[in-house]
Amino acid sequence: MTTPNTTRTAGVTNPTGAARPEGAEPGPRTGGSGASHGPLRRLLGAQPLGLGLSLPYILFLATVMAYPLGYAVYISFFDYVFTAPGMDMDHPFVGLENYRIALTDPRVLQSFGNIAVFLVINVPLTVILSMVFASALNSVTRWAAAFRVAFYVPYVTASVSLIGVWMLLFSQDGLVNTILGPLAPEPSWLVNDALAMPSIALFVTWKQLGFYILLFLAALQNVPGELYESASTDGAGILQRFRHITVPGLRATTMLVLILSIITGANLFTEPYLLTSGGGPDGASTSPVLMIYQKGIQQGNPDVASAIGVMLVILVGVLSLASTRLTKER
């Protein structure tokens, strides 16, 4: 049995990990001075200094994440518009009306369908490619740094500049169509309603890959080399070693990559906005976040935009939970 460093029992920290006999007085804390367990201790926890150091970040999170999220949930149930300071305007409670408006808007539904296409292409590609490339890079002994940088550069380069390059590559007269010649799609990639979202999914996969490779590379350092040596001695080939040692050894990181890529995909905005000029052709690459921007910021309907946002958060939560279950070690 693994002995944790600390085990909580009825709110008291027992550094030995042993259960305290019922009714026994707690012993002195290791390295402590026998601090009292009064209300202040209960309020601030075992490590008040840690709480103090964390407080600025907690406040930051509360201000920029928790408060806006809570506020968005709140206004999604009201007929709400933003007003100038001092403007007295009624915001009547409308229940689920904003959700009904969002769910009956064909463009909103289309945006969720588009993001499903994106995730189906982007997420598996991201997980598989980043794991495979990380394993390959982990085995490379020469030029390893150069290869790693090559994968990482797109991730740290501004989307706007990369998008400019992709627009030139994939435009009707671009390099890709020139190479393809008569095989070039008509209409071209970014204005073809069947190809626009897959094109974006490929772009994002390529752009983000460096980050996920880095995660897998870090995780690979924790897979014992002896396992590979033993497997090799037993006659296991590269594929068998990858399947039976690398993949299980990276399970926790795979789950993290899976969830992060789902969240990143659900937040898709810049690429459809810039690469396909505001979600065209005919809304084929509009994402839910782009819809939130249009409804909330451009069109002055923050209530409907909030309802879309809440639905998106729920969807991402469900997908993340499902991913966790799927990749959980049995």
Partner: protein, 434 residues
């Protein structure tokens, strides 16, 4: 986690709310501000010409009234000035006067309580209506019966700009193109592309932005209908034979490859990859050193004469923010900046048409020296703008979505596209576009 620590967490979450409430800007006392004088700020567009005009006007004012100093600033950067101004209204940080207000966004700013009714100032209504004549009512609450929350300032009448060299290469007479009906316009476009004179006949942005219809469908619709707005009397107007004729023209242009479905990655007009574009007088300053250009009125199906053609105004107006604390100074500066002399200065520096009556007679010297602008000045008397509607941007977005699906990408026929757009827009209009 025990209850007390939960309480601590909850406190951490509610603290920002309390701070936000405590720090929010307090509203301006409207009664006091209405008679108050003092320093003010104004926002103008960030283009070079308008900034030059802004500097000239503020310097002239500040020299005469140093106690009521006017500070010139550019409209904050954003995806569009409408979004930047909307955000500033909510935050209470708008400049006292905004010289770049879009008539499409303005009704919603009024609804949000962000603007001041200019008729509450002595002589406000008279100044606006005398300056802009009958056109003014299109920018007012209740067609002029109510207040004016914007002063109609300047227009950029949309016309067809063409490259004379490409026309000549295509065998079209640049001095008399004869492309004033939908049929001849389409024939001319075929000729331009068919002869290889240019890769495309015209290249408006085929993107989904709500305002793009102002530069393809709408000018021709206004011409064809003699000025019928997209929405009138509480209902859409475009699901009609006139709307269909315009949409069919655009469908033909896109279907035959005369207008590209992709956005141009460069300036197609300068690069010579297109022969025409729909443009306002600003285009003269942009292209005068680069191409040999000409202008013609937007076409219509029924051969409406150029003297009767109505086009899109693409105006920008001036609004006073309710966050202004020195509104009397703001109003007096606004009157000063839109006087005959200052409007002449705007014309001189930017080439944009002040929204006032009889431009040609008011500024004869300017137009004698700048004959290129005469057609625009003449056209400026026959313009129409976006309808004054709450929720206007959502309405234009719905229209754009359907126009994009049908006319640009041909995923449904144009008749169906217009009908579907009308079905979506009519309930929005009736509900006041929530």
């Amino acid at each position: 986690m025990n209850l007390t620590r939960r309480a601590l967490g909850a406190s951490a979450l509610t603290l920002p709310l309390a701070l936000a409430t405590g720090c929010s800007r307090s509203p301006v006392d409207a009664d006091r501000a209405a008679t108050s004088r003092g320093p003010i700020r104004i926002w103008v567009s960030n283009n070079e010409q308008e900034l030059a005009w802004g500097r000239a006007v503020t310097e002239a004012w500040n020299a005469e009234r140093p106690d009521e100093h006017v500070t010139l600033q550019e409209v904050p950067a954003g995806a569009s000035s409408e979004e930047a101004i909307s955000a500033a209204i909510v935050a209470g940080t708008t400049a006292d006067l905004v010289f770049n207000a879009s008539p499409a966004a303005l009704p919603d700013w009024v609804r949000a309580g962000g603007l001041v009714d200019l008729t509450t100032f002595e002589g406000g209504r008279e100044h606006i209506e005398r300056r802009s004549g009958p056109l003014a009512s299109g920018y007012a609450e209740d067609d002029g019966a109510g207040g004016y929350y914007q002063l109609p300032w300047k227009s950029n009448p949309v016309m067809v700009m063409f490259n004379r060299e490409i026309f000549a290469a295509a065998g079209i007479d640049p001095d008399s193109p004869g492309m004033d009906t939908f049929e001849t316009f389409l024939e001319g476009s075929r000729q331009i592309v068919g002869t290889g004179a240019s890769a495309s006949a015209l290249w408006p942005a085929p993107t989904s932005d709500f305002y793009q219809s102002w530069f393809d469908f709408y000018p021709m619709y206004l011409a064809q209908t003699r000025g019928r707005l997209l929405v009138e009397d509480g209902a859409s107007t475009f699901d009609s034979p006139d709307g269909l004729a315009v949409a069919q023209l655009w469908r033909a242009l896109y279907a035959e490859g005369l207008a590209p479905q992709e956005e141009s990655t460069d300036d197609a007009m300068t690069m010579g990859t297109t022969a025409m574009q729909l443009a306002g007088p600003w285009a003269i300053a942009t292209y005068e050193d680069q191409i040999d250009y000409g202008f013609m009125p937007v076409p219509s199906a029924d051969d409406i004469s150029p003297e009767e053609t109505i086009t899109f105004a693409d105006s920008k107006n001036v609004a006073m923010s309710s966050s202004s604390e020195n509104r009397l100074t703001a109003w007096e500066f606004l009157s000063f900046a839109t006087s005959e002399d200052r409007d002449g200065e705007l014309l001189e520096l930017s080439g944009q048409m002040p929204l006032r009556t009889d431009l040609l007679d008011t500024y004869p010297d300017y137009f004698a020296e700048h004959p290129d602008y005469v057609d625009f000045a003449d056209q400026a008397d026959r313009v129409a703008d976006v309808p004054y509607l709450s929720g206007s941007i959502e309405i234009w977005q719905r229209f754009r979505d359907e126009f994009s699906a049908s006319a640009i990408f041909g995923k449904k026929n144009v008749s169906e596209g217009l009908h579907d757009a009308a079905e979506q827009i009519d309930p929005l209009v009736q509900k006041g576009a929530r």
